[in-house]
Symmetry: C2
Subunit: 310 residues, 2 copies
């Protein structure tokens, strides 16, 4: 691990907000930066703010026809377009054409909120995106806030199955800040997201200027499965997140620990064989996706040193 | 104040949930009670559960066409119906016909959630609804939970201008429990609402059985005005709830205290002349109503003793 990874400079940088129209921190920040982008300027680059789903923002809903942040599959992006395509599929193609196609942007940020107690979640889609991992490490070390601690989160899907917006860039990070209700702008969450974005741009600027970042080790929460609510024969939810699991995102859940409770007093326990780390517990937007929480495992990763390729 | 108010028995009791389809405590409880209403049975009556806006519940939205809980004006209820009426206006007429018209129900409960830190808010629409005030006092004394304290809240509008569902009954109380994001069922909020409903039914049962409830004094938060967000020339929100005001529902706000902050670092202070008590601070559903918070004054009320009229 003495080798130094060399990556190209990251000078084409985009910051998406409003990918989900009712996640207000990113919506508010990007709207502000579109009026005055000076805060996004650094010595080596100027990041571009971009409102990903303006119609959903206007209506203050997650999406109009379908989830934009599940619309970036190669299949959808490369299919022949037609008038009847969902709004978000059309929008995904526009965004891909501008930021992802032939000349992918170097770094893509995507700003999200969650109703879950996820603090400052730094979400990556590739385990070998060393630039993003170094950025995450930099945030963990230099952007500390005990109310919104930074956890590194990996949704490790094969590139051809990747449906997320952030994946259109060479490197990427989504910020998932919570808890915050949909449609609400909380000042504390807004300030925290702004601080994380600014600190991220500082990191990229240092990197572009040739600073070498040493090797380090980190814990990463890697998605292993999605767990649905208990349902009755008609598919109706009949058990809710147990009060002892609520708000315990990133805390270890042991076999036998309660996970669901019903209105008739029944409880359901976790029947896995080893400890997991539940995340996105009781996220409002995941009810329709039949996800009560997302199980992760904690993996330890060694990340090699990094400097820019001259 | 030695007189004893005498009211008729309250034996026709209805409990509405899902008046707003994404306020999940009432939705979940009423769905459960529709399957098994035994919990709502008392010696002197059996309360009826009723899902007020089933289509909004199905889509997990506040409403389909218009806010059901603003659709109970005499004007709307008595107007000639037409095919093109909004879904909720049609629904309001159906509900009024069943529970409110000639033979009004004796007591109407309406179960709501809020994204604001409103604890267990006991919302009345009439300052002289002594039965509801005694019920509120009973809950304050007998249903204590420091995580969700009971505050009595008065939206004191003239009957002919009253647009709220609860107003169709002879007596009424809305429960507003929070904070809870829209579309999420939190076990703690659900349990608290269930406890409050059960305690309320116990009170009505005692009342119906002839128990006399002595005179008492209480503080009531009475709505005085609605305060909008600061907006730019295009009507866009340009200031958010100040971090020092967030979650401070029912706390005194003094002249000069900060209420809004902008992304450019400006702050706006409260320019009133006396202390107010802000409520529904940063409620998600009120952004579209142009309400950042609702100002109340604390009034002290003496409530005469009460017993049932034989």
């Amino acid at each position: 691990m003495n080798a130094v990874t060399q990556n190209k400079p990251a000078t084409r940088v985009v910051i998406f907000g409003g990918t989900h129209g009712n996640e207000m921190s990113g919506v508010s920040l990007v709207k502000h930066w579109l009026q005055d982008p000076s805060e996004l300027h650094r010595v080596t680059f100027a990041a571009e703010p971009f409102l990903a789903n303006p119609l959903a923002v206007e209506h203050c809903v997650r999406y109009i026809d379908t989830d934009l942040n599940r619309s970036f599959s190669q299949e959808l992006l490369s299919a022949c377009s037609s008038e009847g395509d969902p709004y978000e599929v059309k929008r995904a193609r526009e965004i891909y054409k501008k930021f992802g196609a032939k000349e992918s942007y170097d770094f893509v940020f995507d700003l999200h909120n969650t109703t879950s107690n996820m603090g400052s979640t730094l979400l990556l889609c590739k385990a070998d995106d060393y630039l993003a991992l170094h950025l995450a490490n930099y945030l963990q070390c230099n952007c500390v806030d005990y109310s919104f601690p930074c956890n590194v989160y990996l949704v490790d899907v094969e590139e051809r199955n990747n449906v997320y917006l952030q994946n259109i860039g060479k490197h990427s990070l989504s910020l998932e800040l919570g808890p915050q209700p949909q449609g609400v702008t909380r000042a504390d969450v807004l300030a925290r997201m702004r601080e994380l974005v600014n600190c991220s741009l500082d990191f990229l600027d240092l990197y572009n200027q040739g600073k070498e970042f040493p090797s380090f080790e980190m814990d990463i929460y890697r998605v292993t499965s999605r767990v649905d609510f208990p349902r009755d024969v008609d598919g109706e939810i009949e058990g809710f997140i147990h009060k002892e699991l609520q708000d315990r995102d990133y805390h270890p859940l042991k076999p036998g620990d309660p996970i669901f409770q019903t209105l008739t007093g029944d409880e359901q326990s976790f029947d896995g064989e080893k400890v997991i780390y539940p995340t996105f517990i009781n996220e409002a937007a995941y009810y329709e996706k039949k996800v009560a929480f997302i199980a992760t495992e904690k993996v330890h990763q060694v990340v090699p040193a990094l400097r820019v390729q001259c």
